[in-house]
Amino acid sequence: MENLTYKISNGVLRLDISGDYKNKNLPEVFLAQIKSPEIKRIEIDAKDLNSWDSSLLVMLLDIYHKATALNIKFDGKNFPNGVQKLIELSLAVKPQQEPPLPAKQSFLDCFGDFGLHIFHTFMKGAKFALSNLRTFFWAPVFKPVSRTVDFWFAFQECGPKALPIVLLISFMVGLILAFVGAIQLQIFGAQVYVASLVTIGMTRIIGAIMVGIIMAGRTGASFAATIGTMQVNEEIDALKTMGVKTEEFLIFPRLKALVISMPILTMFADFAGILGGAAVGILALDIPSSEYFRYAYKAWHLRHFLVGIFHALVFGFIIALSGCYFGVNCGRDADSVGTSTTKSVVYGIVWMIIATGLITFCLQRMHI
């Protein structure tokens, strides 16, 4: 059954709505008539309307808005009470004016803005790092306000609890390093030097880097998520209004725990990596175990070991500061906690690699 009939006479567009008006699309043919220049007035009569749903309201509002835009008089009659009320309700509040779009920027402006953004972000991060490093190094003099239990809890998380995964990954890395090295060394019949390769590689840098990557994903992310959730729950606001410094209460125990545990974990990682290399050397390359360990011992040097430990210390600072920075600067919703956690890991690893490059360059210049 047709629900809409219309006719035009003397500049009046008359629309009769009848029957059941439900689940209807907009009557495009009728709506096109409104734009006709002869139309001066629209009359809508719904006296024969039985039932209706929101599609009727959509149509009526569309007609109303079009008529208003074209300065055409709109006259509705015999609307059911509910329809009249809902139309009034939807017209009661003027739509929010959308803010004007910002003027299109030139490439140079965009580039400049991007540069400034990077600069400000870098400065903010540097300020945060310096403030926390000051708290850390002056801790013996100005006792920071923090709870010992928080330190032990953080230490347990980034020390003993992280050890199994560190041992497993380092063992596997030592194993891979030995296999890869053996392929080349076998060409010269020098596979016994696999022991030297693995020992120097693991102790000097690879052990520290593997521990750093594991701890960035495990502990750095956990710091960011914990502190970020505290931000969401207004716990950090509560600390600030109590006059407690977040860098002392939240960051100092975590920083201390990670900086202490990183070198210890690295020592274990070095050992596990050498054992991984030994597994390949002894079982796959048929090097006698005494021979393998003799070469490993000869290759082990305190200098390499200390370089690895120094890397681990630096990585400890970077990972803890990255996790805490993104936690403290987290937004106030659940999504922000996820973003902060991801950023803490990504930036932690990026800065670790940058630091490794710088340290390696400096050590090379110093012939260490």
Partner: protein, 249 residues
């Protein structure tokens, strides 16, 4: 009575977005001062300014006679010890028991011995009806209990002013009424000035003896005085509608 808070030409907002312009108001000692207004009018932001979490865009405010924004960090630390705040969620530290939460400001700012602090914690918890919950973690108690525990922490240092951010939010009517009663008791018996951000009408009329109304449309304070007086003689239609839940036309 002295003014504990005196706002002078205070403009607040975030960057270019202004939420409240040129606000002048005073909170007298012993007041239960209500900051009310519709959603998005800047009530919670005003509270953040008053608690020093964000700086005002313009103007200043005196807290206990000291210009807060010009105060040195030592002065600010002292002022913060004289204020407490109850957040919407309670903002209890989730890794600490209720006792540890309340003991924290005491350990930091007072010279009390550990045994005295334990007793003080028990006292504060009993004041808010949570006696015996010392070793519970925030996750183990209900929303209403969290708010009361948060209030106990806010009261730990016997502050002169306690701020409340939407204290009734998320509470059932009975818990909300109990919290109102508790606030009245604290105000009457400890003489603490309470500054309450809320839009709960029942709470506003139950506890408030002074108030300001923040208007989101004009971004100004359009009414001040006792909530009951504002209901009797509303200065404008928006306040009349707000205080009658939109029934007044």
């Amino acid at each position: 009575m002295e003014n504990v808070i005196q706002a002078k030409n205070l403009t607040i907002g975030y960057g270019p977005k202004v939420l409240l312009r040129n606000a002048d108001f005073a909170v007298k000692e012993g007041d239960i001062f209500i900051i009310m207004g519709g959603s998005g009018c800047g009530k919670s932001s005003l509270l953040k300014v008053l608690t020093g979490l964000i700086p005002p865009l313009q103007g200043s405010f005196d807290l206990l006679g000291v210009d807060f924004n010009r105060a040195s960090s030592e002065q600010k630390s002292l002022l913060r010890q004289k204020t407490g705040i109850l957040y919407q969620s309670g903002a209890l530290f989730s890794s600490m028991t209720l006792a540890e939460n309340i003991a924290m400001p005491l350990e930091q700012y007072s010279a009390y011995s550990p045994s005295t602090i334990d007793e003080l914690v028990r006292l504060k918890l009993s004041l808010v009806g949570l006696s015996g919950y010392e070793n519970y973690y925030p996750s183990e108690i209900s929303g209403g209990m969290k708010k009361r525990a948060g209030l106990a922490r806010a009261l730990a240092l016997d502050p002169k002013v306690v701020y409340f951010d939407e204290p009734s939010a998320g509470l059932d009517p009975v818990s909300s009424a109990r919290l109102d009663d508790l606030m009245l008791e604290i105000n009457a018996n400890l003489g603490t000035t309470l500054v309450v951000v809320t839009h709960e009408l029942q709470s506003i009329f139950n506890i408030g003896n002074n108030s300001i109304y923040l208007d989101a449309a004009t971004k100004t304070i359009t009414g001040s005085g006792s909530p009951k007086d504002l209901l009797k003689n509303p200065p404008n239609e928006r306040i009349a509608q707000f205080l009658t839940r939109g029934k007044e036309k």
